[in-house]
Assembly symmetry: C2
Homo-oligomer: 645 residues x 2
């Protein structure tokens, strides 16, 4: 136990699940170097072998129902998955494809016949599968996928087909080498009528690994990172599967070819199906945040032992971490990592609340949409944070940081795609903003970025913002957060958490109100919907981001308030202050432009961020210790040279 | 020839040198994929083979004197080297180590006996060499290197030795596999007295590739990128070399062991020697800018053909490049790439002016120091720009951008270390600021970040800023750039180049004056020098950056004014406006804090940047065509699928 109890506090209720994965990573430490020396094919096979071993130990089934060999512990499952990000990220992604996406699709979109036939084999890693959604031509716009699944009542089969080059399934994990079956997303055509995108189980390889007739498999080849995952491409040439291959929880096709669904609206049906897959976004966000912890642990420990240039009167050169610029580069990122950690924990709690039970369709739709938006937002900010943090850590370790043996290189390369997969971050922030603008009332709107503009255009809705609600909020905030420009002391209240939250709430509401006004005005003026949306796309995305940043800040504050009294809470509060003020500082231009910050107060914030960096610096080492990253992942030569001599 | 003549204008006076390298890259296109499929050892050997072939064609000797087989064309040499960055970057770095660093050190630090004995072989690639400066313990602080070279008058030899683990030579290109000799930087000890860092020629391998006695060579192993370069480590155990191994242009040791130098001050001597190596920084900056061009060519062409999500009433989905957010992400980076291109061209002109002649020591010291500062600044901004641009291009191409076949992955990995090698960027910007603060009067100051504070402390100099010069400049600027806050039209004059330059000059001078005041006040108050410096390190670095940004802006403006009349100049002016306003926008908080921008005017700038993105968008394809990147480097599957079917 750490002296301050911070590590236990960070691990939270799923400590046991995290520790089990930590032990597994330590036991498989050799995997961490495997990607550097093995051929791509060998590395992929090694990752599979470790995955199957971890599976045998029961980690990966934790989130599944007990009747299929799981433990019914969704929260522990996510926590364990996040912890995999402390180790080899190919292993994490491979496990995510197999258990989160492939088995998850069977669980959530299938019914008992699919569960009984496939789930235990999938969970126990005997049936390796792919999640074949993305196509060469369509990633973000899933509703426009080109693959078709046409029902043939004569044989009671679906014919799965790739009609164009753009409809080729692409970047599919497990497709190049190991997958034997795929959950294929395709336009379902029954009786000549298209019912939109549905999911079917399609075998793609024999047990010997040969492609099945009509299935063409190829390899995406080398990637920037994650080369232990066998991403590939799948082309279907009139491949026939039985009628029962349709994962038919939300829509059924009977033998005669009659399509039915209890969800009448096709958009709503599509988004209900997609909504069950939110776990992927929840998991990737958490993994990205944990990858940031690995990088910060390495870079901060290095900066606390590496010296360069002299301090006058001292025989030693100065430690890197004693330089202001070095503190400035690393410590606000450390603070934000804590903030995101607590926001992620909140998200997982809410996810477990909604998905921990049995049925999906009956849960409150508003809550479900709000969860999806929160998962999207946390994923976007968490993955961009990982990219920024790992890059900064690499640079902060100079040439040593460029060597693979010091692990930052691999972390950087492996995590880079996180901003893209499970939803492109810019598209996700648009989704967040849209949910807020409509208060999730348009419960099954399109992911399409035009959706918001269309919604406003088509329904001529009274925009809440313009009328009452948001305006009131904004005015109330003006009272709660007095404009300190008036006071003679620009430092007054800068460490008051009500001030921080008020500032972030004000920005969020003001941005949302502004977007709503601009959208409405454009539509009212008869401008074409695409043009209306496009003119304020940057504004929409900024509003989405402002919302998520506010939620993250408040999650951090709540965690400070709930922390054990004493040193742990004091340190968390100081770190929280650093995060809050660095967040305001980063967007201080906006606050000044909108009259919420004076020039002198803005400068005072910058000065205070510097002071807080210096205040946090002496215990920065403890703060990274509290992440509990296993030694195998962080005891690299530049940090612990004695272990590598 | 492009329709607007832009390509010819960008290529400038060294077009022939650039085209020769372009042809060579096209002829060796297979090297571009070599790093993906070959083993590390095979890839390194392939890079060497191509380098020797290119050498045989005479490209690499271009910058050397004719008597050693060169062409005496320094400008063409740099232009050709930059152009290598359009291709495989391991080849570029390998060539940089061999010809720029190793042969360059012999040329600049050696005398005729070294030139006669080694230069032709080095230039023609028969004698492969290392540049052994950096050590495990010291990169930025070269004056503190630990390797020693102790003169033994009994045998008339120097004894080269690695006294500690930290003094091991590290990250040395060509050391792991191919290098046979090294230019070793070591503390020169003669008659028991240390004379500071000097450079010696030390053989390290036999012609068969075996390490010589006393020399221990090892491999740095896998790196994030540049795996075609064999970086390694060198440890010397009392290795003896003849007295003539000392590169003795600036200091000599006679047979009896008498040290002499025409430069008496040891600091001045050290920085004179180091100054001759400025070519490395000039080259890396140019290479980084060119790598950005490759990434932008790929990402902009992709965005101009890739569609996603629908525009209402249209059968087609919208092109990515028609989305505002996509324009916002890519086009200001395109504009900045042009700006940096012209700043780099100016730098190369000045470099050729100073170094194109025969003797180094007689050139104007002020000019020499100013050139070093400019090279440092352009290197810092150019390499950070490359990291940011390539990252953004990768994300803008989504999953396709993550596949190695589309080249952004390799570009990202290979260029990442540019921000670190040839000088860490944060250290370099401190160097820039220091030169400005002292007006290069402290002509041979330490690179040490404390140098500035010490200079002010020790010499009790009247800080120019406080007294007259800078204050006058700042006041004059207040007149030239009226505070537009007063005017009723916040858009007035936003596209006036005098306004842009005035804003950037004001910021530079104001920041420098502020730093000078803070340093002086700290010293006057008796604060310890390290603490004085450290408290405003972020401010020092910001001032250095502000200076370089102003120089870059003015270089772009000068290039617009000198461009051929007509479409080319009009487009360049529009792109220049985008760059200028995006630069001001990025730091608008500072301008508002310092009373140079009102809130409404700041918002008007943001709106105008959006408008300029839309204005540039229709000819963005032409702007990347004008870079003239060979097809082999950019005709990737996601851009030209038909070539890869």
């Amino acid at each position: 136990m750490s002296t301050t109890g911070l590590r236990e506090y960070l691990d939270g209720p799923h400590k046991a699940a995290r520790d089990l994965v930590r032990d597994g990573l330590a036991a498989n430490a050799d995997l961490l170097d495997a990607g550097l020396e093995l051929s791509r094919a060998e590395y992929r096979d090694k990752v599979l072998a470790v995955m199957q071993q971890v599976t045998a130990e029961g980690h990966t089934g934790r989130g599944f129902p007990k009747e299929f060999g799981g433990q019914g512990d969704l929260g522990g499952f996510i926590a364990g998955f996040e912890t995999l990000a402390f180790g080899d990220l190919s292993l994490m992604v491979k496990a995510g494809v197999q258990f989160g996406l492939f088995a998850g699709a069977i669980l959530h979109l299938g019914t008992s016949r699919h569960h009984d036939e496939y789930l235990t084999d999938a969970i126990e890693g005997r049936l390796l599968g792919c999640f074949a959604m993305t196509e060469t031509g369509h990633g973000s716009n899933v509703q426009a996928l080109g693959t078709t699944a046409t029902y043939d009542p004569a044989t009671e089969e679906f014919v799965v087909h790739t009609p164009t080059a753009a409809a080729r399934k692409d970047y599919i994990g497990n497709a190049a080498r190991h997958g034997r079956m795929a959950t294929v997303f395709a336009q379902l055509v029954v009786g000549g009528e298209s019912h939109g995108v549905h999911c079917l189980l399609v075998p793609i390889r024999t047990p010997d690994g040969e492609p099945l007739p009509g299935v063409t498999l190829s390899d995406c080849g080398a990637k920037l990172g994650l080369n232990g995952v066998d991403n590939g491409r799948i082309v279907f040439d009139q491949v026939r599967v039985p009628r029962t291959a349709l994962l038919d929880r939300y829509a059924q096709v009977d033998a005669e070819g009659t399509y039915s669904s209890e969800i009448e609206n096709p958009d709503r049906r599509f988004f209900t199906m997609l909504g069950t897959l939110v776990q992927g976004r929840v998991s990737v966000g958490g993994a990205a945040i944990n990858a940031s912890k690995v990088a910060l642990t390495i870079a901060i420990r290095y900066a606390d032992r590496r010296r360069q240039f002299g301090a006058p009167g001292s025989a030693d050169e100065a430690l890197l971490l004693d330089y202001r610029m070095h503190q400035r580069r690393l410590l606000p990122l450390l603070a934000r990592t804590y903030a995101l950690h607590f926001a992620q924990a909140e998200l997982v709690d809410e996810f477990v609340r909604l998905f921990g039970g049995e049925d999906v369709i009956d849960k409150d739709e508003h809550d479900q949409r709000a969860l999806e938006a929160q998962a999207a937002g946390t994923k976007a900010l968490g993955t961009w944070h990982a990219t920024e943090t790992i890059q900064m850590c690499r640079e902060a370790c100079g040439g040593a940081g460029y060597l693979a043996e010091n692990r930052l290189a691999t972390l950087k390369a492996d995590t880079d795609v996180f901003t893209t997969f499970e939803g492109d971050n810019t598209v996700l922030l648009q989704l967040v903003a849209k949910g807020l603008l409509t208060n999730y009332r348009e419960s099954f709107g399109k992911l399409d970025p035009l959706g918001t503009a269309r919604f406003i255009a088509a329904q001529a809705v009274e925009i809440a913002v313009e009328k009452t609600a948001l305006r009131t909020v904004v005015e109330r905030l003006r009272d709660v957060v007095p404009n300190r420009n008036d006071t003679s002391d620009p430092d007054a209240g800068l460490r008051d958490d009500a001030y921080h939250c008020g500032m972030l709430r004000f920005r969020e509401q003001h941005m949302l109100a502004g977007v709503a006004r601009r959208l409405k005005r454009g539509i009212d003026d008869g401008v074409e919907a695409f043009e209306v949306f496009n003119r304020c796309q940057d504004h929409v995305i900024a509003a989405g981001r402002a919302h998520v940043e506010r939620v993250v800040l408040e999650a951090f504050l709540a965690a400070v308030q709930a922390a054990p009294e004493g040193t742990a809470r004091e340190r968390l509060k100081e770190l929280y202050d650093l995060h809050a003020l660095a967040t305001i500082e980063a967007d201080r231009a906006w606050y000044i432009e909108h009259g919420r910050l004076s020039g002198p107060r803005s400068k005072a914030i910058t000065a205070l961020v510097n002071e807080l960096c210096a205040a946090v610096r002496p215990y920065a080492g403890e703060l990274v210790d509290a992440f509990g990253v296993p030694g195998a992942a962080v005891d690299v030569p530049m940090v612990v040279p004695s272990q590598h001599e």
